[in-house]
Symmetry: C2
Subunit: 546 residues, 2 copies
């Protein structure tokens, strides 16, 4: 009798789900998607939100379950009895406050007009202005905290976000019994248990899972602000390890979803790490999770102090391994910005005539160009730089423009800039002692854009593969569902059995490698000039008082 | 009895004509335009032309006369007997070869498929690769030649263009009895006389009209190339001074145009200089002729050695004065590039809904922004830099881009970049001893774009005026028609009587001046970084072997 597991991938704009064969990871054909009805909220109660805010509505998360799972079971024609586990991955750090009944605080009428009672998405940047307090306190009391996070503490992390609530919405802070990761919340709802995944805690919550120090103590938070000293009373500090079972599906949710009561629910993981497991956990490989932004993740059996990455966490992905995570702040987002803002009506008309969407049409034109033919170089910091600087005040640049420049030239230059950023991130890993000799790229874009994949292989000068399914991340979650159900003893074992086949491997072409080495050198020269402070024009423009 | 004069302005894409009251310069209402049927040619005999080529068909020039003048006379209802003079301005250096009968060589069947038998437009850049020969020879033999042309010799000048023909189309060179400026050709055709204006000769043909050396001697051309030593045998070396009469309208052309035989035809001038006369010849004023590109012209009663300008010529515009000319390579062209390539269908739709053209719509959005609000800085070198570097290998740059950047932000940043370039050109004049305390901007754009005019005034920190008519250049030609007809004794006198009224003067606003000083400082920092060789990335990209 075949056994199946569900994997649910909660992304930035939508959730999607797969049903996979627990033995070999093959994904059943119907893979529904649920775009969040509230999307990324830009206003609340008729008022526009500040541009640095990125909020979601927690109701969308459970609505996603109620849509996706019945769809998945029915359309794939699988008997619910054969579904033995559910895995969940979620963006991180995406968090919100719960009331004393562990209901989202924003469901309470008193707080429904209060932005910070809603879910603060990973890319919510309202706390950026407070990070220096965390960094200063870490430098003074606990420098190891900075080693865990590449030398900086980002505004998108857990405690800076909590501090933002403490400072700017004190009533929310006071009435919050706990702040929870959205992924943990979903697992808690399904099982009725308190769940707090080590994945979230060790990667973005200063939780030392390797040295055994756990959370920083009260003195750290007191150093930041006396009133913030007891913040740990608003955190579930009993952690649940990755690869374990968070609990069993309750009768009520089993009925609601059309599954069997008692189905195993895995401890949730971070979305980017789902991609690693879907590709098969392996050494010396960079796994790219490419979506609106991109994560460049590597696994290491030894601890390395790597500057400039976003974070690293022990056993955040699999037993006995360190997960290191660096990122490119805008990738799909950047290409989308370009087609939404900078492509003429004429091009849209021509794309329609060719029966292509505008991305495909631009790619078809850009792919015909020779390397360097556009004579453009771009810096991809349209959403700041996440790794390896990091610096949120940096911005994008396009250089080499002429009256003969066409949209496809710029489109290709933007793609190249994001690839160069990935190369720069990987160079940083290798110079910190982590060897990389291959790349696996996951997500929809690698399957749609062979040009990007070839550029990546030529720039990295190494083989770059993409997986057969664009739903690799959700399949990665399913790996944890299978482990939680007891079908495997370790995540690594489940991952090896269930990993996705490689759709295609791109190999570097010697003459392209030489051409891109030249362009990458130009990119790095500009990168260093603008990022090193030699000309801090981007920061000055960012800080201009208008 | 009122007397009238005709002014014909031959631009890059079209010719236009005005009929003006010779006493006060007031322009009659009907001002016809003749777009050149062949435009700027991109192919010849079915073959595409190289991208650095910019050719015109000489037939378009005389066809323009046959269309414009009858239109002008008829529609304005003026008796041809009251029309006493014709003035002509033309882009420069725009030249072509004539056969032994002084017919354009390209009219000869033997040469109709030969690109270099056609008219090489001012911006034809096929000779760029030969300019070092001219510069080296000048350095060695006649350094004063470089002082006349801002320290460099441009590929768009007369002799480099002739050398291009000599090298690349030897049969054309051999069969050319003379190479003529298009403006001189028009005046020659109308009068039956040989015409060679001092304006063309002194500004772009190394003709020293101040020191009295005239053309460089044979040894200069022999130094460049032995076979090119006798090039002056293919030039009309008897020059006709600006402000004088080139001759009288022939009977045949009088009949063809519906004018009276014997009407005075002025010695032609350079188009940008028409704008100076239309604004009223004055000291300490920069005159901007803004079109696809822009010219920044100043008049000086004393000789100044100014580096980085395109050229200067004695009595090129008016008696006893030096005309200095610097330029911005892309202005209207740049804004057009942007709307053609980078504005979305959505914006085009909204513009249509508002009943605006896309330029007007973008301006309406951009004008609402505060200074610096877009946080963008651009370098305007989309067509290279003409002054004050000059460097054709430089290219455009946009910096400060984010996912929140909208088309109107970029549009405004491009406008600001061209204004900053004008400021840089004027700073160069003043640091070379030429005082500037006001600006007059001519052309259609200043009348259409009050935002640009205010930015110009704020950036320059001085009053900036625009003239009532967008046909100022053609009116400037008419000034010379009136002088040629003997109605005035000097160009300066005619110009003072016939100058166009000021439509509006923009005054600097103190807080804007401060804000733009900050942005201009950023512009200059980037300008110097990329232009000084500190990071010659633009040149390297330009020279990439593809």
């Amino acid at each position: 009798m075949k056994k199946y597991v569900i994997g649910i991938d909660y992304g930035t704009l939508s959730a999607r789900a797969v049903l996979a064969d627990a033995e070999n990871g093959s994904i059943l054909p119907h893979t529904p998607t649920f775009p969040y009805p509230h999307g990324v909220m830009t206003e609340l109660a008729g008022k526009p939100l500040p541009s640095e805010f990125a909020l979601q509505h927690p109701k969308d998360y459970t609505d996603a379950l109620e849509f996706l799972i019945p769809e998945l079971v029915k359309k794939n024609g699988v008997d619910p009895k054969d579904i033995v586990g559910i895995g969940i991955d979620f963006t991180a750090c995406t968090i919100f406050p719960l009331d004393e009944n562990r209901e989202p605080l924003c469901f309470d009428k008193r707080f429904e007009a209060e932005p910070l009672a809603y879910s603060m998405l990973w890319k919510h940047r309202g706390a950026d202005k407070y990070t220096h307090l965390f960094e200063d306190a870490a430098k003074k009391l606990y420098p190891y905290l900075l080693d865990m996070t590449g030398g900086r503490i980002a505004g998108e992390f857990f405690f800076p976000k909590l501090y933002e609530v403490y400072k700017e919405a004190p009533e929310v802070y006071k009435n919050a019994s706990v702040f929870i990761n959205a992924g943990d919340h979903v697992a808690s709802v399904l099982t009725g248990n308190k769940v707090h995944s080590v994945a979230f805690a060790t990667i973005k919550e200063h939780y030392d899972n390797f040295g055994g120090k756990g959370y920083p103590d009260r003195s750290y938070f007191a150093e930041i602000d006396g009133g913030f000293a007891d913040v740990l009373t608003k955190v579930d500090t009993d952690l649940t390890p990755v690869g374990s079972c968070a609990g069993r599906l309750t009768a009520a949710w089993a009925e609601r979803l059309g599954l069997c009561e008692g189905t195993a629910v895995a401890v949730p993981i971070i979305d980017a790490h789902g991609a690693i497991s879907a590709a098969g956990i392996a050494d010396k490989r960079a796994t790219l999770a490419i979506g609106t932004s991109a994560v460049v993740a590597v696994m290491s059996s030894e601890y390395n102090n790597v500057k400039g990455i976003l974070a690293q966490g022990y056993e955040a992905t699999a037993e006995g391994l360190h997960s290191l995570e660096a990122g490119v702040r805008a990738m799909g987002d950047l290409y989308d910005w370009f087609v939404k803002n900078c492509v003429s009506a004429e091009y849209e008309r021509r794309a329609k005539e060719c029966g292509m969407n505008i991305h495909a049409y631009l790619r078809s034109l850009a792919a015909k160009k020779k390397i360097g033919e556009s004579r453009l170089i771009a810096l991809d910091w349209f959403n700041g730089n996440r790794s390896v600087l990091p610096n949120d005040k940096l911005s994008g640049m396009i250089l080499g423009l002429t009256l003969a420049t066409r949209p496809e030239d710029i489109y290709r230059a933007l793609i190249e800039s994001t690839v160069f950023e990935i190369k720069r991130v990987c160079d940083n890993y290798t110079s910190s002692g982590i060897e990389i000799n291959s790349v696996v790229a996951t997500g929809g874009i690698p399957l749609k854009d062979p040009m990007l994949m070839q550029i990546l292989s030529d720039t990295m000068n190494m083989p770059v593969s993409c997986l057969e399914s664009s739903e690799a991340t959700a399949l990665g979650s399913a790996v944890y569902g299978a482990t939680a159900a007891g079908l495997y003893t370790t995540v690594a074992e489940a991952s090896q059995k269930m990993k996705q086949p490689i759709a295609k491997t791109y190999y570097p072409v010697a003459e392209n490698v030489r051409a891109y080495a030249e362009l990458y050198a130009e990119y790095c020269r500009l990168y260093d000039y603008f990022a090193s402070g030699e000309n801090a024009v981007m920061e000055r423009l960012h800080d201009l008082k208008i």
